[in-house]
Amino acid sequence: MILLELFTAFLKIGAFGFGGGYAMLPLIEREIVTNNQWISYREFIDIIGISQMTPGPVAINSATFVGYKVAGIWGSVVATLGVVSFSFILVTIASHYIIKFKESRFSKSVLLGMKPALTGLVIAAFISLAKKSYLDVKSVIIGLIITAMLFSKRLHPILVIVAAGLLGIIFYSF
């Protein structure tokens, strides 16, 4: 049954997709394009493009998109639930224990090592994204204005995103 197949495929993606976001793309591609052939490679590229333009995690975007293509509204519901189910169960159980053992020597020492590493991860994400995003002077200027807005902390980040969209129209119209 197609709904069940959709659910299991996206459950797998949710359960084995480590690293979040774009790190999950190869796994999504293998499940939905190569193994199940639910959509073509071109449509898969389309999903990535749409994900970049729409808010929300790319895993959710692709689940909703593919589910709809394969089996309509119910397909998108089932696929989206599939991709988050494993996270939900695992993270809920884990947070129960983590909150309980937060003060333990084990979790404190592990976090002490992981925090600077996460900072490194985020810097690496910044580098790889900045290389793709800042290809012309205009985008660099927009980036600098947005950085200043974020660091002043006077504007809510939602307003900063809206401002970025307006800056796009202003700078690229001419």
């Binding site: 939900f88 020492s109 996460l118 205009k138 660091f151």
Partner: protein, 178 residues
């Protein structure tokens, strides 16, 4: 306002305005749950962010579930999860059923060029939040630089970097927390 409902609304906002995935959501999530609502402290937020990396699945989703659970148990986790995923769910449904062609609209593409240029800045803000909470010493600096180098230059998978650093912390930093 009911706390659970307020929490759901906060996560709807986070889901609706997080462009560029995972790390770009950090400034918005921090503004909502730490600065405005004070549901959790900045330290707790950053701990959750770190732990979320070690779990499979979307980082924004994992972080939301963690925070939701921390604020209000299983009900909080469910509401945070749905708050985060519903906006993308409905937006994608709208796009696939009605506006497949919206991408070719001139102004829409300009707006997204602007947002595209803003996403790295959002991620940079996440870096600043993270470093603020850390002791400024050579050890931390070394771990940061090694992580950046292994991911950016050697293409090591980020999860491996996080796990190795966790093991390092367990075996070598234990005396620092006593």
């Amino acid at each position: 306002m009911n706390k659970l409902f307020a929490m759901f609304l906060s996560f709807l906002k986070i889901g609706a305005f997080t462009f560029g995935g995972g790390y770009a959501m950090v400034p918005l999530m921090q503004a909502e749950v730490v600065d405005n609502r004070k549901w959790i402290t900045e330290d707790e937020f950053l701990d959750i962010l770190v732990i979320s990396q070690t779990f499979p699945g979307a980082i924004a989703v994992n972080t939301s579930i963690f925070i939701g659970y921390k604020i209000s148990g299983v009900r909080g986790a469910v509401l945070a999860l749905f708050g985060t995923i519903l906006p993308s769910f409905f937006i994608i449904l709208l796009i696939v059923s009605f506006f497949m062609q919206f991408r070719d609209n001139h102004y829409v593409s300009l707006v997204f060029k602007g947002i595209g240029a803003a996403v790295p800045a959002m991620i940079l803000a996440a870096v600043i939040s993270l470093t603020k909470s850390m002791k400024k010493n050579y050890l931390n600096l070394t771990i940061i630089l090694l992580s950046v180098a292994s991911i950016s230059l050697l293409n090591v998978h980020p999860v491996i970097v996080i796990l190795v650093s966790g093991l390092y912390g367990y075996f070598f930093l234990g005396r620092k927390v006593e």
